[in-house]
C-alpha cells in the first residue's frame, strides 16, 4: 500500500516542465523527419496532427525549451 501511495504521489507530482520537454522532443523529431522527407518545414498543424495533440500544445511545448540541445541530454540519452 505504501508502495502504491508513493507511486501515485510521485506520478501526480510530475511537473509540467518535464512533460513539455517530452512533447518538445517529439515535436522536433517529427519536424526533422518531415524536413528530411519533404525538403521543407512542416506547419504547426501538420506536426499537431502527426502527434495527435492540439496546435497550442505544440507551440506551448516549444516554448518550454529554451535550449533545444539540452533536450537530448540527461533524460533521453
Amino acid at each position: 500500500i505504501g508502495e502504491i501511495r508513493r507511486y501515485l504521489r510521485d506520478n501526480s507530482a510530475i511537473r509540467v516542465s518535464r512533460s513539455m520537454r517530452d512533447t518538445a522532443y517529439k515535436v522536433l523529431q517529427v519536424r526533422d523527419k518531415y524536413l528530411a522527407e519533404n525538403q521543407r518545414e512542416p506547419t504547426v498543424e501538420q506536426i499537431a496532427q502527426e502527434l495527435g495533440i492540439p496546435r497550442e500544445d505544440v507551440v506551448f511545448a516549444m516554448d518550454a525549451i529554451v535550449d533545444p540541445v539540452s533536450l537530448y541530454e540527461p533524460v533521453y540519452s
Partner: protein
C-alpha cells in the same frame, strides 16, 4: 472581497470558437508560473474551457461579442480565473447551475457549471439578463514540496 494578487493578466478576444483553445492555452501558460502538476493544470484547463465555451455559445448566440478572461495568482498558491461577457445573461443562475440543465439543445450536456465546480475549489456566478455574465473560479494548488526527493 478582493485578495491582492501577486501577478495577473487580462485577455480580451472576440467570441469566436477558435479562441477557446487559445484562452485555455494562455491561461495554462500563465498558471505555469505557479509550478502546477499536470493534473492541476488539466483541471484548470478543463474549467476554463467550459466557462469560455459558455461565453462563446450562450452569451452571444447569433453575434460576435467580447470575452474577457482575467487570471490572478494570489497568495497561498491560489489561482483565480474570471471569465466575463456582456452577452444576454442568465435569468435564473441557480437553475442554470444544476447538473443537466441546458438551454442549448441536443448537443449540450448541461454539465458545464458542474464541471467547473468539481475541478475548481470555488465557483461564483453573477449575471444580469441583457447585461452579461461573470464567472469567478478559484483553485488552491497543493503546496509545493521542496524538490530533492
Amino acid at each position: 472581497m478582493k485578495t491582492k494578487a501577486n501577478n495577473e493578466v487580462t485577455l480580451a478576444f472576440p467570441s469566436r470558437s477558435s479562441n477557446e483553445g487559445f484562452a485555455r492555452a494562455a491561461v495554462s501558460c500563465f498558471a505555469a508560473q505557479m509550478d502546477p502538476t499536470l493534473n492541476e493544470l488539466e483541471d484548470i484547463k478543463t474549467a476554463v474551457s467550459e466557462a469560455v465555451t459558455n461565453a462563446i455559445v450562450h452569451a452571444y448566440p447569433d453575434s460576435i461579442g467580447q470575452v474577457v478572461v482575467k487570471v490572478r495568482i494570489c497568495p497561498d498558491q491560489v489561482l483565480e480565473v474570471t471569465v466575463r461577457d456582456h452577452g444576454r445573461g442568465i435569468p435564473d443562475v441557480e437553475k442554470a447551475r444544476q447538473p443537466m440543465f441546458t438551454t442549448g439543445g441536443e448537443e449540450r450536456s448541461g454539465m458545464g457549471f458542474t464541471i467547473m465546480e468539481s475541478f475548481m475549489d470555488r465557483l461564483v456566478v453573477r449575471s444580469t439578463p441583457g447585461r452579461g455574465t461573470t464567472v469567478v473560479m478559484r483553485k488552491r494548488l497543493a503546496p509545493r514540496l521542496k524538490s530533492g526527493t
